[in-house]
């Protein structure tokens, strides 16, 4: 019968369940991956027990002809528990090595139990050790994949948050807006920045817009094109556009690249741009006499 392949493993998983959980925890401590700084003892124990239960369920239903695939429905429980555990561990700052070692540590108690159960049957022992090795390795590889996917999700989320954060249109004064650009300006972001800016001009009936590029790391031909197109669209809507924060370095690069800003006003600092903008809407900045 092919089910003999996992019969012994199943027996020890059922009869020695608590002992295996404890030994697994012990191995994690020895390997230095238990992270008692992040998880309490009872928390770790509960997590390990839950994982082991789901693992046992998979071994019972998901291995045929000593073959298995963790993507099968029989392993659904393990995948679900693993997703939860990994998510939590990633958010608490566990490293991928720690995560893999944590899973691989399960081999130690399983080997020990097999050895105790099959002391006089070396060929069966070798066979079962091999089986456990394959199962736990697959378990660890799958964990790694979940870990990476979870991290990628976090990175993507942060990227989106940054995208939103980095394009705030600020109303500096009545009818004066500023858009402080930070970082790199690729086509997708330039488009989003432009649409956001134009909508705000309409809502606020803004007459002057300051595009401040103090925080833009490099201005190449493409970035300059994006800026000039944004300025052109602002003008078409009937507002004036001032590009401020042009450092001497950026000015040099722009001239060397042969970028012609045409009729767009440019200023070196946001300070002079602001004074200009206020002038355009009828205000002047004055020093208080008593000061």
């Amino acid at each position: 019968m092919p089910q003999a392949a996992t019969a012994t493993i199943l027996t020890i998983l059922e009869t020695k369940f608590s002992a295996i959980v404890e030994q697994w925890l012990g191995t994690q401590v020895k390997e230095g991956v238990k992270r008692s700084d992040l998880f309490s003892d009872s928390e770790s124990r509960a997590q390990n027990a839950e994982l082991l239960k789901a693992f046992a369920k998979g071994v019972r239903a998901g291995v045929t002809d000593d073959d298995f695939d963790l993507a099968d429905p029989a392993w659904e429980d393990l995948r679900a528990v693993l997703a939860d555990v990994t998510k939590e561990r990633v958010s608490r700052g566990v490293t991928p090595t720690e995560m893999a070692t944590f899973v691989l540590a399960l081999k130690v108690p399983l080997f020990a139990q097999l050895q105790k159960t099959l002391p006089d049957n070396p060929s069966s022992l070798i066979f079962d050790v091999l089986m456990v090795t394959r199962l736990v390795d697959a378990f660890a590889i799958y964990t790694n994949e979940v870990f990476i996917a979870e991290r990628e999700q976090i990175i993507e989320r942060q990227r989106e948050e940054m995208l939103e954060l980095s394009t705030p249109v600020v109303e500096l004064w009545d009818r004066v807006l500023t858009l402080p650009l930070i970082g790199t300006l690729d086509s997708a972001r330039a488009q989003e920045v432009m649409e956001n800016l134009l909508e705000t001009i309409l809502q606020r009936q803004a007459e002057v817009v300051i595009l401040d590029i103090t925080g833009v790391s490099t201005v190449d031909t493409q970035v300059a094109q994006h800026l000039l197109r944004a300025a052109a669209a602002v003008r078409l809507m009937g507002a004036e556009c001032i590009i401020s924060g042009i450092s001497p370095m950026i000015a040099q690069t722009m001239v060397q690249l042969g970028i012609d800003v045409g009729t767009v006003s440019t200023r070196s600092s946001i300070r002079t741009a602001l004074a200009d903008a206020l002038g355009k809407v009828g205000y002047t900045i004055q020093k208080n006499r008593d000061h």
Binding site: L198, L202, Q205, G238
Partner: protein
Amino acid sequence: MSGIAAIHLVENALLVSIQDDVSDVEIIDLQDALSRRIAEENVRGVVLDISALEIVDTFVGRVIAQLAGISRLLDAETYVVGMRPAVAVTLVELGLYLPETRTALSLTHALSQLRRG
């Protein structure tokens, strides 16, 4: 009258508010009518309110640019006012920056700019 939009004379400027999508023939008719009126009334400006337009393609854009050229020859400035954000983005993508025209947020803004000269 041009059929698609009434031309009003206000403070030495011709105001036209385009209320609906215009065909090529209609916009050409409007250009003709406006050119005549600029010369006849000796105005200083033409204010074209396009806030109702959701599509301005290269043809309409070109006619507006020509109108600005014609009015400049007749000593009047052309203002395009109320352009929607979507139209501005599209025109820039088409490479139509309309440098010949002046622009303003609304009729009121254009009139106060004309008053200031």
